[in-house]
């Protein structure tokens, strides 16, 4: 089956293609070079006047795993006004802030996304995360395994184990949990909360292990690098949401000794304490630090106004924020001496000073970070806003007058505290293609995804250009997943099952013996059963494992 996409205006930053008119050929799910003139074309799509990009990639969206299902359970009132009826083709579902898994797959595909990454998979919960992701159709999935408050790591660090030994444990955990990257959330803080510590600053010791967040960050970042994990350590830092945490974030950037790191939902970590209300934007400092430190990338975690739910592994922060729960109900969990989670519904309001400034801070970071290869477009779904607000966010980045009009509706004191209006920058389509495709793909080491070169997987999204960029990005004309047309004008036309991105870093099998003993001694499940097997993911052919390459030169 040979498909020709004819005459589209192509944006493919991985190959430096910035709006050139090109034909693209797809055979058996892959982009191929132009065939001989006499080759029969099975299907042709006339894309003259259309914008063509690779399928979009969301590197940070909470779409599966225990805390998401807790959020779903917690919010029947958010589902009720948002029913999704079944069709002859698609299953029914519900929800907006925490949509059902099947609906999540459809919605992403309809928006032209072809891969989404769950960023906070607890090892103890990895099986359920994969089960939920398996029920998220069409898109490819992947998950970052959460380390840093797990007893085994902290125990190893407290005992002075070597980096090599720790690397084996990290590698083992990635493989066992079927992960594609490593995430750390409030390093050591989730554990500290279980010992009744209510805050844990970068250099504050966990009261039981005596280990500090800085040490954990360094150890994990180094391990990730040495193991050749493509994506740098994915960091949700200390002091999330605390005014003044901009300093913690700057210290984190400089505190990892040049090791590559990715700072996630950095908007929530960019707060100063200036002004009458002791809350101000640290965006300029953060952006300046990212511009200067080339080893750092970030995603923003933009907030949008309206009802959502915050779901995080950081139960220390979530417990601290419980008073803001709207509606007034929330869940915190301590989990398996491994991690935790907190789910707090939240309503961001443009007439609330803090919320308004949070909105502005996120956009300031987007616009002040110069290199779009190092800042990714996220709302930390659903923490900042549901992922369905991406087209709106893209318009805010691409359209200054629209952005200013929205800015002028903010709480006046927040306007006074923000420099957003003085920022002239408008993102180009090329830059949007970088931050939503090429950059996440490169950062995660997805190889054949996120670009349109020969050999690339044919995940392709086609838009009709429109002055209103929100309209343009809301409902792409065509979405191809592995060469199959799955959505047309924002409607699903074919339901497929995506694959699961994983990594297979090598580790010394000697790590298994103490771990197995440790599980039997302390845990409530056996090591063998803790591992998520390949066949659980393949699931009789419904799923597929994609093993990504480690970075060259690594130990793997």
């Amino acid at each position: 089956m040979l498909i020709k996409l004819t005459g589209g205006t192509v944006y493919d930053p991985m190959h430096g293609v910035d709006g050139q008119v090109r034909d693209i050929y797809v055979r058996d799910g892959r982009v191929v070079s132009s065939p001989p003139a006499d080759q029969r074309i099975d299907e042709e799509y006339d894309l003259r006047g259309k914008v063509v990009m690779a399928g979009a990639i969301d590197p940070h969206s909470h779409i599966g795993g225990g805390k998401v299902n807790i959020a779903r359970t917690l919010l029947p009132e958010d589902h009720r006004p948002h029913p999704i009826p079944r069709t002859a083709l698609t299953r029914s579902g519900t929800g907006r802030a925490a949509p059902s898994s099947i609906t999540t797959g459809y919605r992403y595909a309809e928006m032209g996304y072809t891969a989404v990454f769950e960023p906070a998979m607890l090892p103890a919960n990895s099986r359920q995360a994969h089960m939920e992701l398996a029920d998220t159709p069409i898109i490819d999935k992947g998950a970052y395994v959460m380390l840093g408050s797990d007893d085994y790591l902290l125990r190893m660090m407290a005992a002075g184990k070597t980096q090599a030994e720790i690397n084996d444990y990290i590698a083992y955990t990635i493989v066992a949990a079927q992960a594609v990257a490593v995430k750390v959330v409030n390093p050591g803080g989730i554990s500290a909360f279980k010992f009744n510590q209510r805050n844990l600053d970068l250099d504050e010791k966990n009261s039981y292990y005596g280990v500090t967040p800085r040490q954990i960050l360094q150890t994990l970042a180094r391990g990730v690098k040495e193991l050749g994990i493509p994506h740098p350590l994915h960091i949700h830092g200390c002091n999330l949401g605390v005014p003044g945490n901009v300093q913690t974030t700057l210290d984190t950037i400089t505190g990892v000794e040049g090791l590559p790191i990715h700072l996630t939902h950095i908007q929530f970590h960019s707060y100063g304490t200036e002004g009458d209300k002791k809350f101000s934007s640290g965006a300029a400092q953060i952006a300046e630090a990212i511009n200067r430190h080339k080893h750092v990338s970030a995603d923003v975690g933009q907030i949008m106004f309206g009802q959502t739910v915050t779901a995080s592994g950081d139960n220390m922060a979530q417990f601290r924020n419980r008073g803001f729960a709207t509606p007034n109900k929330w869940v915190c969990m301590d989990i398996e001496c491994d991690a935790g989670c907190g789910v707090v519904p939240f309503r961001y309001r443009d007439q609330n000073f803090v919320n308004a400034l949070q909105w502005a801070i996120g956009l300031e970071i987007f616009l002040l970070v110069e290199d779009p290869w190092r800042v990714f477009l996220t709302t930390d779904h659903p923490n900042g806003a549901p992922f369905t607000s991406y087209p709106h966010l893209i318009r805010l980045l691409m359209d200054k007058s629209f952005r200013d009009a929205n800015f002028e509706r903010l709480h006046p004191e927040a306007q006074a505290m923000s420099t957003l209006k003085s920022v002239q920058r408008e993102y180009s389509l090329y830059e949007i293609a970088i931050m939503t495709r090429a950059a996440p793909s490169r950062s995660l080491g997805l190889g054949d995804r996120g670009h349109l070169g020969v050999g690339a997987a044919a995940d392709i999204t086609v838009y009709t250009p429109h002055g209103d960029r929100e309209r343009m990005f809301e409902k792409p004309d065509y979405v191809f997943k592995d060469g199959t047309p799955v959505a047309r004008n924002g409607r699903i036309v074919r339901v497929t099952d995506g694959g699961t991105h994983t990594l297979r870093p090598g580790f010394d099998k000697a790590v298994l013996k103490p771990l197995r003993a440790y599980f039997e001694q302390f845990h409530t499940m056996r090591l063998e059963n803790f591992c998520v097997s390949d066949e659980e993911i393949v699931n009789d052919g419904r799923g597929r494992i994609i093993v990504n390459q480690l970075r060259a030169g690594s130990r793997g």
Binding site: N69, P76, T94, D151, D334
Partner: protein, 432 residues
Amino acid sequence: MNPATAASPTAKSGSRTHTSVTCPFCSLLCDDLEVTNRGGSLGVTAGDCARARGGFERDYASLSPQMDGRDVSMDQAVAAAARLLRGARHPLYGGLGTDVAGMRGLLALADRTGGIVDHMLGDTMYRNILAMQDRGWIMTTMTEVRNRADVVIFANLDAVSDHPRFFERNIWNAESMFGLATKSRRIVYLGEGLNTRPGVSPDGRKPLHLRNEPERLGELIGALRALLAGQSLQARTVAGVKVAELTKLLGIMKGAKYGVIIWSPPRLPFASADLVVEAICDLVKELNAQTRFSGFALGGNEGILTAGAVCTWQSGYQLRTDFAAGYPEFDPTRNATARLLADDDVDLLLWTSTFLTGQTPPETKAPTVLLAPPLRGLDTRCAVYIPVGTPGVDHRGQMCRVDNVVSLPLHQVRESALPSVAGVCNLLLQSL
């Protein structure tokens, strides 16, 4: 093959022994069982308890699919069941005693046929879910209890009656991660008619036992909350317990470094028990202003947590969800099995039960399709009976554990020709 996994049975002299087997017959999902298969008959040789033995060691009869009591082929049975489903104006998918894959299949059917899903223990589940949906909670998981809890309060339950190995695995475990001497844990029982012997510590220390009237537990918890808030009560006794004793209990709770209060929805068998659960959850939240305290819910047998979890991620709602309108609608009282059947609201019952109990569907005028293992003595008098295997015995599977966070793989411990629930659902879906 994922190189990190390594579980394979050992074979010797005609028998095969499977280790690290997960037991699907109670929601603890103990996975340290050893199951020996001698020519297809199973024996639990390590990690056993009455439930595990009752599940693994039960006998199957050689039952074929049936229609109205007559043996038919699988194809005929599936066709008949599909015909019933197609014609149904409001089918109920009940029982739901199955694994993740089975539940996925049943939900696909329910969505397609506009049916209702409810579990045989749906009443018990909603004691927790309603409380959680109204107020949220602070909860903990089994490994945390095992390693961290210094005060453990059992509210209206003894744990061992429904989960025989709870104390062995989580309370009197020999070692703990953080140097907690498990023998020194403070155990408290609330309620009557409890087997409190397991609560005596290995060094002989007796638990504290307050004998409240079980159905007035909510009032007792309310009194603890009032006392914690600094209120004074005119009442001298609460639910049959002296206020002075409650004050003492509150002192123990406030003094905990990591306290855990455990309840079990099936052990709150009275109306509006969700309000009692809510009170417990509120008390836990309030205690966390100073110290660390968590809730922990037992119950959840017969796969209800699995059924609820899968239904939630696929539809947004827990069970008692109705797909009749073309999208999920949730009504925890109207969509309750007993009520739907009593009021003749549904015209077809598809009943699934593969674990320890519930293989006899409830009485109803509506035609019934039964998916259950071919247990000896099974009553198969219904419109269509389709024998299925037991997940974790006859085929692989996955289930969610009692603490709602951990899921475990289920293993196949004997050869079986029986289809899985998921397999039958797929056949039905194709025949609709």
